[in-house]
């Protein structure tokens, strides 16, 4: 499972949190990975993470690699579908 992700991958991970059985989704960059958990970073200041989410690998239900669009001007915002 660990080999599936590597630092710097852009991912969307769907996972469950027990015992409530809520289904969560986290979007961001793989920042750290260990035998049991993965840390996803959602925003950075330079190379320093600001917001992160820790996820146990065993709780991951679905993973997707993502290719985000960069917002470079206001028209890019208008083009994004609601």
């Amino acid at each position: 499972m660990i080999n599936k992700y590597k630092k710097g991958d852009l991912v969307s991970l769907t996972y469950e949190i027990t015992p409530k059985k809520d289904v969560m989704q986290a979007i961001g960059i793989v920042y750290k990975i260990s035998d049991s958990q993965i840390v996803i970073c959602h925003n950075f200041s330079g190379v320093h993470p600001i917001d992160t989410t820790k996820i146990y690998l065993k709780n991951i239900l679905k993973s997707e690699y993502i290719v985000p669009n960069e917002i470079k001007n206001l028209d890019d915002l208008k083009r994004v579908e609601n």
Binding site: M24, Q25, I27, I50, D51, E64, I66, P68, N73, K78
Partner: protein, 163 residues
């Protein structure tokens, strides 16, 4: 997956009491998330049961575009006002948690002495910042600050109180 976006943005800076003012430029932050509202530019970082749970509300002025629009306060002659007590009204970006998506940016008011002005920032000494919500809240809530650095593009109005 069509709404996954990356944005580069800047945010105001606070320096704690006794912390050296170390500022030359705003660091560019990078956010990755799903755009859930393109009018208020709301990014969601995590979802809980398919609903946005944590994220960020950015203003157009906080996003780093190739050409940012400059408001009239950009070209104001601040140099003659150095050392003067000022009150600055500005729009702050908002982090949200627990699914509490903000409807709009936070209106903030910072009062203090005009310490310095750079090409894109206003530096206030001994600032007191309040968030103008239904209930006035000190910001940051728990610590006294020595300096506050506000991007000029965030500023909506300035009041000068004495010379």
């Amino acid at each position: 997956m069509k709404n996954i976006v990356v944005a580069r943005y800047i945010d105001a800076l606070y320096f704690k009491k006794n912390e050296k003012l170390d500022f030359s430029q705003f660091k560019t932050h990078i956010a990755i998330g799903e755009l859930v509202d393109n009018n208020n530019i709301i990014f969601c970082f995590t979802k809980k049961n398919k609903k946005p749970n944590t994220g960020l509300l950015l203003t157009q002025e906080s996003i780093v575009f190739k050409k940012n629009k400059k408001n009239k306060l950009y070209n104001f002659n601040y140099l003659s006002k150095i050392g003067v007590n000022v009150g600055i009204y500005w729009n702050d970006i908002v982090y949200f948690v627990n699914g509490k998506i903000p409807e709009m940016c936070t209106k903030a008011y910072t009062e203090g002495k005009l310490f310095s002005v750079t090409s894109n920032a206003i530096i206030i000494k001994d600032p007191k910042t309040i968030l103008l919500k239904k209930k006035v809240i000190n910001h940051p809530a728990d610590e006294k600050q020595s300096y506050c650095v506000i991007p000029k593009s965030f500023v909506t109005d300035i009041q000068f109180y004495d010379k």
